[in-house]
Symmetry: C2
Subunit: 398 residues, 2 copies
C-alpha cells in the first residue's frame, strides 16, 4: 500500500500561514508529542518516581527506539542505540574506529562535512597525540584521497549546505579495499532519504533526531555499529550504562552486549519520550515512497525557482540521485532574501556565506506548498522586496 | 529570613501514602514542571519552530541555568554550564585537566567513587595510552596517596553508598601543594549540602541534576571550571556549541569564551526546560538552612533506627559534618528489607551488597515523615516482615 502522505501531514501541528521548509534544521511538532510528554512527566515520573526506570520502561528506551530508527536507516534490528548528542556520537565512533586500525593515524574527511564533526575529530587527534591527523579534502576529491594511510573515512552523507549526497556504498567499498573503516553521519539523511547503512557497508553510522525525525530541540542522537563489530568494538566513552552490569557497581569496566556498550550515561527520558512519540508518524511510511516524493518536491522547487528567479543560482546537484532532501540556492544577498521570505511565512534558513537552504519533507510538505513557496520567492525577487535595511541587518543567526 | 520548608514542600507533587527517601536517586516532580514543558512544546517548539533558538532563549539556557546552579554549589556566576550526562562531563574535565598537567600520568581516585567516573577515567587512559593510569585507593587513604606523581585528583565529594563526605578544601589544598589539579563530582552534593566549589578551591566540578535538583529522569549534567582556568582550558570534546562562533561554520575549532567552551552539541531543550522550572523551588532557599535541616533530619533518622532496630548497622559516618544528606544502614538481608519498606510506602533504595540508602531532602521531607519512616522500619524489623520469598527474590535492580 503506498504511503498516505495526507495522513502523515495530519499528524503535525503547523502554525497557520507558515510554509515550513526548515525541517532539516528542526522538525515541527508532531501532534501526539505533548500528550506523551505530559504522561511521562505526570503519570510516570510523578507517580512512579524512581521505579519508572523499570515500570515505565525508561531503561530500555534507548534500544527500543533504536530499533524503530534502524528501519528508517536500513540497519539491522538490535544495532542502533540512542543517547547523547551527535557530536559525542561522532567522537565515540571515531575513537572506537581508530582503536580498530592501530597502525594508521589518518582520519579522512571533507570540507563539506558539518564543522562539529571536524572539530570533534580535531579534539580527538589532539588527545591521541602521536601523529594522529585529520585530513580534509574537497567533497569531490574524497574518492581519490582514500589510500592505505587512511585509518577512518568519516563523512556526512548529505552536505548540510548543498544537499549533495555522497555515494555511501562506493566510498565505503573503496575505504574497505584500502583497509580503512567508514563512519557515516546521517544528520541530513535519516528520515530524508533512502539511506541503507547495512547495504552500504557502513562500519559505524551516527545521526541526530531533531531534524527529519522531529524529536524536538536537542533530541538525542543515535549510533549504529555494524553487527560484525558489535561484540569486539571497545567504547572510549565507557560510561556505566554501557557496562555489562551497570547495577553491579563494579570498579572496572566490562563492555555490555553489542550495541548496549555504546550507551554512556543516564538516558534523557523526556527527550526520548518525545522522540518515541514523534516516530509514530513513521509507522505507515515506506522509505522508498518517501524518497520518491522527496525527489518530486525538490524537482518541482528547482524547476519553479529556475523558471522564475534568474538571479538565484542552484547550489545543489542537479541530479536528484546525488541530492538529499534539501535544495540550496545561492545569492550574494542570500541573508536578506531569506529574511524577506521568513517575513512572508516561508521558513527556510541561511548558511554563510550565500546559501539559502530549503528542506522538503514529504511527511508534512505537499506539492501545492512547494508551488506556493516558489510564488512568494518569485514575487520577492521580482520586486526586490529583500532590499531594505530591515532585512539586510544581520541578527544573531541560528 | 529563614527558609520556609513548608513552602518548598508545597511546590512538589508527591503521591499519597509515599514517604520518598530516594531523592538521591531521582528527585520527585516539582509542581510547575508539567506546565513549563507543555509551554515549551506547544508554544515554543510548536509555534516558533526553528526561531525558538533565539526567540524562546533556548540557545542561552545552558548558561542561564548554569548561573542558577552556581549559587547552589558556591560557584562564581558565569562559570557553570549545563549539557550532556555526568559521565561525559567527567571525561571532559579529566581530559582537560590532564592536558594542563602534561608531565604527569596519574589520575588518583578512590574505591568509593561512583563507578561510572572510574570507567570514564579508564577509557580516557586507554585512549591516551603512553603510561596513563587510574590509581584508586580506599577513601580514607586518599590524603596520604596524594604525591608529586599525581596529575589529577578526581573524587566524588559524597559517597553514593555511605554518604561519607570528603573534605574538599583540605584535599584540594593538598593536591595543589603537590602540583596536581582537583576535579570534584557533586552528584550527591549539589542541592544536598553546603558545597562551596569556589571556596573549596576546586579546579573543575561536575554534577547531575536529576537527584537533589529534581530535573527529572535523565536531566542534563553541569560542569564548573574555576575562573583562573576559564580562558586557558582546552576542551577535548570540542563540539560546535563550544566554538567561539558556532554559526560561522569555520572548518577549524576555536574555543568559545570561558565556560561556553565546555558546551559540546545541541542542548537538550526539553530536559533543560524541566530543570529550569525545577530550580524555581530553590529561589527562596538558603543553602545554610538546607544544610542545617538536612543534618537535623539525618540525625533524627539515625537516632530512631539505632534505638529501634538493633540488627541494622550504621553504614554512614556518625559525625554529621562528614556526611552528605543521606544515611545508609547495612544488613545482610538489605535487599529484602528494602522491598518490605517499599511495600509499606517507604521508598529508599538498595545498593549491593548490603546497603539500605535513605536520602533526606529538606525541600520536601519533614521531621514527622522521618519519624514515620523509622516507625515502619522498626515494625518490619521487629516482625521479620521482610523474611518472605516475595521480598527476597531479586528483580532487576535500579
Amino acid at each position: 500500500m503506498p504511503t498516505d502522505f495526507a495522513a502523515t501531514r495530519a499528524q503535525f501541528d503547523l502554525p497557520e500561514g507558515i510554509l515550513y521548509l526548515d525541517g532539516n534544521s528542526l522538525g515541527p511538532l508532531p501532534r501526539n508529542v505533548a500528550a506523551r510528554l505530559a504522561r511521562t512527566v505526570t503519570q510516570e515520573w510523578g507517580t512512579m518516581l524512581i521505579t519508572g526506570w523499570n515500570k515505565a520502561g525508561w531503561m530500555d528506551l534507548p534500544t527500543r527506539i533504536g530499533d524503530r530508527i534502524a528501519r528508517i536507516i536500513g540497519a539491522e534490528t538490535g544495532h542502533v542505540v540512542l543517547g547523547d548528542t551527535l557530536s559525542i556520537k561522532v567522537y565515540q565512533a571515531l575513537a572506537s574506529a581508530l582503536e580498530m586500525t592501530p597502525t594508521r593515524k589518518v582520519i579522512l574527511s571533507d570540507t563539506g562535512n558539518f564543522p562539529s564533526d571536524l572539530y570533534m575529530a580535531e579534539g580527538l587527534c589532539r588527545t591521541l597525540g602521536d601523529g594522529y591527523e585529520l585530513r580534509t579534502v574537497a567533497p569531490e576529491d574524497v574518492a581519490d584521497a582514500i589510500d592505505d594511510s587512511v585509518a577512518v573515512l568519516m563523512l556526512t552523507e548529505v552536505d548540510y549546505r548543498t544537499g549533495r549526497r555522497h555515494d555511501m556504498p562506493a566510498l565505503t567499498a573503496k575505504a574497505h579495499a584500502h583497509g580503512a573503516l567508514a563512519i557515516w553521519d546521517l544528520a541530513h539523511s535519516a528520515g530524508a532519504t533512502d539511506v541503507k547503512v547495512a547495504a552500504g557497508g557502513a562500519d559505524f553510522a551516527v545521526g541526530c533526531t531533531y531534524k527529519y525525525l522531529n524529536s524536538g530541540p536537542g533530541g538525542p542522537a543515535f549510533i549504529y555499529v555494524a553487527p560484525r563489530h558489535a561484540e569486539t568494538v571497545r567504547p572510549a566513552l565507557s560510561g556505566w550504562m554501557g557496562h555489562e552490569a551497570p547495577f553491579a557497581f563494579d570498579l572496572s569496566y566490562r563492555p555490555g552486549n553489542g550495541i548496549e556498550r555504546m550507551r554512556v550515561g543516564t538516558p534523557p527520558i523526556l527527550q526520548l519520550a518525545a522522540l518515541d512519540a514523534a516516530l509514530d508518524v513513521w509507522d505507515g511510511v515506506e522509505i522508498a515512497d518517501l524518497r520518491a516524493r522527496s525527489i518530486e518536491l525538490c524537482e518541482a522547487f528547482i524547476a519553479g525557482v529556475e523558471a522564475r528567479c534568474p538571479t538565484l543560482t542552484l547550489g545543489s546537484p542537479r541530479d536528484p540521485l546525488q541530492r538529499g532532501s534539501q535544495v540550496s540556492f545561492r545569492h550574494p544577498e542570500g541573508y536578506a532574501i531569506m529574511q524577506a521570505l521568513i517575513a512572508r511565512g516561508v521558513i527556510g534558513d541561511f548558511r554563510a556565506p550565500d546559501v539559502l537552504r530549503f528542506g522538503f519533507t514529504p511527511l508534512y510538505i505537499a506539492l501545492d506548498e512547494v508551488n506556493a513557496a516558489v510564488e512568494i520567492l518569485a514575487e520577492i525577487m521580482a520586486s526586490d522586496a529583500w532590499d531594505t535595511p530591515a532585512f539586510k541587518t544581520r541578527a544573531k543567526v541560528t
